[in-house]
Symmetry: C2
Subunit: 275 residues, 2 copies
């Protein structure tokens, strides 16, 4: 039996094969950059825990990875985080012309919706619910909204509540969406979907704090001028670790409402929650 | 009875109201920049000619205008066409931080799919067909694919066939999509949909040639180094006008297959086809 990541990588390479044409080549380059596939694995794991066959969840899972990849391409752009490297390789706008990086992001975002629209073995209503859930979680009220708060916060301080909202939107909403995808594919109850949404938001927060903790330059200089505010930078390491622990407990609480044993989901996220 | 553009403007201002928050503010700024609303008017007109109520077509029409607007924001970026002004106003990345312009484009693209997913009075199958049609027409095989050809062609020459394909993708596919939206909303036959797709592709070509003809700097210096190749620049004004005339004839041919009088559709596009 192939692993989740093998299934995801294989299907992604069918959906966006390498190419001699520069646009699909840039999309492929970005998709196969050594990512851990955490988000699509969460789709597969949640769908399976809730009693659905893996194959029904695979294309929606790949759509989620396309969205994650598009967001990284655009985040790395010179006008955003201006990163030259990601996971040891040149970022897309360094390996390709910058305009192609913008377009590769746009095309991956669009392709995610196309892939969902032709997902097999799902009802029309399920496909529409996936489409609507994705658009809500990654749009102006979700991931992109969080990115905008992040961009504008440069060199500013921020109250704790806004820091949490920023992380929940920027990082939590796509985790939420991944878990909600599992619920929609498995036709789980609205209550289960709500608990999974909370798991995703808390996971996003904990994941972002872990990221910030790893960035020692931020943690050692709590309020560096010109740096982006973070929970670690503004509240300090101890307070951040406390919020992370609370998030972890909240995740366990919300997962306990699942009708089946949530160990497979926990197994995926636990490595990211150990400080 | 309000005009098409009044209906569209009113509904767009409900969907993306002005705001004190910078991201929705940038989206609103871009959407209300004096555009002619040709594409959403084509959705309304086609749906009405094919026998559907206007109100069922309004939200999908607004989604098309959001897509057109997102494509203009990203096209204007410094790494793309680097335009400081559009219709006499500063472009979005001049009126707002450049990162916010990228995100406003991303958010409008995403919002278009959200709006379609909750369109009223349409069947689930119609909503999925709209979603799939949009994703195909504006993605790597369509509009964004055409943009990539355009970007890479800077300073190059190009065979006539590729010039035509570029214009059909870059400009024609979103016109196609607008007309196909009308057909899907009206539950027209697959044959009608195919003819409307051809109308859109020919309209895109003619529209692009008209644009190029208006840009005298291109038409007077047919193969300026560093300029983007265009049908006018490479084939010359007379040959371009001939292709435009052929496109116009093809449009009339394909419109003649509509079961009803296509005058309202023709009325919208004719002003753009007179040379």
């Amino acid at each position: 039996m192939p692993s989740y990541t093998e299934l995801i990588d294989y299907r992604l390479s069918e959906l966006i094969p390498d190419s001699n044409e520069i646009l699909p080549q840039a999309m492929h380059y970005a998709l196969f950059g050594g990512g851990k596939r955490l988000r699509p694995q969460l789709v597969l794991s949640t769908a399976q825990v809730l009693g659905t066959q893996l194959k029904d969840a695979l294309d929606p899972a790949c759509a989620i990875e396309m969205i994650h990849t598009y967001s990284l391409i655009h985040d790395d752009l010179p006008c955003m985080d201006n990163d030259d490297f990601r996971r040891g390789r040149p970022t897309v706008h360094r390996a390709f012309p910058e305009a192609i990086a913008v377009l590769a992001g746009d095309a991956l975002l669009t392709e995610a919706f196309r892939v969902i629209s032709i997902a097999e073995n799902l009802s029309d209503r399920q496909i529409i619910r996936l489409t609507n859930c994705l658009a809500k979680r990654i749009g102006k009220e979700g991931m992109v909204g969080g990115q905008a708060i992040d961009i504008l916060s440069l060199g500013q301080t921020m109250p704790q509540e806004l820091l949490i909202i920023m992380d929940q939107k920027k990082t939590g909403d796509l985790f939420s969406c991944s878990l909600e995808f599992g619920a929609i594919i498995a036709n789980a109850s609205p209550l289960i979907e709500k608990h999974l949404r909370q798991v995703g938001l808390h996971l996003g927060l904990a994941y972002q704090i872990r990221d910030d903790l790893e960035d020692s330059s931020i943690s050692s200089i709590p309020q560096k001028t010109g740096a982006k505010p973070s929970i670690v930078g503004i509240l300090g390491i101890e307070a951040a670790k406390k919020i992370m622990k609370q998030s972890f407990d909240a995740i366990q609480h919300h997962l306990s409402f699942l009708p089946e044993n949530a160990d497979p989901i926990n197994g995926l996220i636990k490595p990211y929650l150990n400080t």
